[in-house]
Symmetry: C2
Subunit: 310 residues, 2 copies
């Protein structure tokens, strides 16, 4: 059983920022991630709103944060998913696919994931025409006919991005108007190769090796029909990666986001959360960074009990 | 009377981050600062804990944030102090030394300032041997005998920094032990050119054109004596720049820090605070950035009332 001061679950912007501060505070720090270190920001083609970098690719920013954290001496185990947690005692135990660990404090920075529509064929064709990230997979469908599901800001961003790559973008939205920024809605209306099907939902995604059609249903008339498309980009929002935390007694809100206070404390002593997995109203790189820093310094206070905070 | 959507008072890390997000949200945004844009971080010789920059000078980081904010289209008026505020109505009015403005929301990001000891001669010799920033002014006293007042982390940092520049560092501390990180305390003890006077306070700072001596008093015996020194570095902490906010009805804690909730709201509708001026427990560049972003997006919600937050 390996012993650590703090174990940070999730190596995205929040977790890496927590790591930087935990290490600099002298805490023995392990960062675990089921995927590669870097987090969701790695998928962003361009980041223009992380203060200090007027323009940088998401991949480069993720790489800079990871290197920064490693350079200071943090141990990062990527591709090591956590299977089981016991958070209730003074010593927390964490079992992963590879080992068992003990820690005095745990920080959840597990982020969020894309929501699925739940249509027939969605899981089957994932990675074979079904995608949740336009900027990741869009370029594979140059000159093809693609479909976007959704009507919020993430859908609008993806529609605009794909309209410059695909020959035609069909949008399927269950409501009769977008819920996105007005400037984006206006820009979508001006694109001749974007066609919007209002009040419409996906019933089934079909294909052979790859997606080649969808069955859609008009939710006002109940009529369904098939459309030939080469890809389906699902953009109906995100959900927090909080199942493991919740199962270990960490309190979440009605949408599953971990409830935090202004100091990133959860309902369990010695357990903190930061970034997209929390119920903080803002989900941005810069806010994830600030929350990660706070979580690490609060873990430090909990473990070391310094003179200035008893 | 100029009309703006949001006026941000203070162009440090918090204010500039708020500016970046306010502008990108389409708000007509004015940032005011009584000094030059950049904020306190400008004084730091090296920053190693702002995630993404493994090492950067404070001046360069401040410059990058300022340029980032200006590039996106924010209007920054530096060297324009605010004299008077009326925050109570839906429309806030702000009078500066140069003009009067109206805004729908106000963000306080006014930071904090160094505490003074209140000794005779302190104000008189400020800038002529009395300094509040070791890394700014230390290099002027190479090979000289300097004095540091204080015993916390900022004092310890300054003592170590100056011990590499000055011939001798005399430390005057009113208690009988440091309240600083253990590693720093141990490092101070190992420096042959650092001499600590415990239970001692400064009564007077003396000189002609420049500081040349101090009168110190032993607070256990009441005995005073003069010491020849070339500079006095006061490092006894910071206090928030919240006088104007407080006078305008913004609620502060017992130390004068503006009380905020998790969304950076103050007690007044349409008025937000971010960064070192707030009662958030962590005062770091990364946390100021996160708070500035949140404050701007909450101001946006207040002004535009978008579909997703009524």
């Amino acid at each position: 059983m390996e012993n650590w001061d703090v174990i940070i679950i999730g190596a995205g912007s929040a977790g890496l920022s927590a790591g930087i501060y935990a290490i600099r505070s002298g805490l023995k720090t392990l960062i675990l991630d089921e995927k590669l270190a870097g987090g969701t920001i790695s998928d962003a083609p361009t980041v223009v709103n992380y203060p200090g970098f007027a323009e940088i690719s998401g991949g480069e920013l993720a790489e800079k944060m990871t290197t920064h954290c490693r350079k200071l001496g943090a141990t990062i185990h990527d591709l090591e998913p956590v299977n089981e947690l016991d958070l209730m005692g003074d010593t927390k135990t964490i079992k992963t696919t590879r080992a068992s660990y003990e820690a005095k404090a745990v920080i959840f920075s597990t982020g969020s994931h894309y929501r699925e529509i739940g249509a027939k064929g969605e899981k089957e064709f994932r990675g074979r025409g079904v995608s949740y990230c336009g900027v990741c997979d869009g370029p594979f469908f140059k000159g093809k006919r693609v479909l976007v599901v959704g009507g919020g800001n993430s859908a609008a961003t993806t529609i605009l991005y794909l309209s410059g790559i695909a020959s035609e973008v069909v949008v399927v939205h269950r409501r009769n108007s977008f819920r996105a920024e007005h400037t984006m809605v206006a820009e979508i209306a001006s694109k001749p190769n974007v066609k919007v099907l209002w009040n419409t939902e996906i019933q089934e995604i079909k294909g052979n090796k790859q997606v080649n059609a969808v069955t859609v249903i008009d939710n006002t008339t109940g009529q369904s029909r098939d459309l030939a498309v080469d890809a389906v980009f699902v953009q109906i929002g995100e959900a927090p990666n909080s199942q493991l935390a919740k199962a270990s007694g960490v309190e979440t809100d009605e949408h599953g986001y971990i409830k935090i206070d202004i100091r990133q404390h959860t309902n369990i002593l010695g357990v903190y959360a930061a970034g997209d997995v929390t119920n903080h109203p803002v989900k941005q790189v810069g806010t994830a960074v600030g929350q990660g820093i706070t979580a690490a310094l609060e873990a430090y206070v909990h473990i070391r009990r310094p003179y200035y905070r008893k």
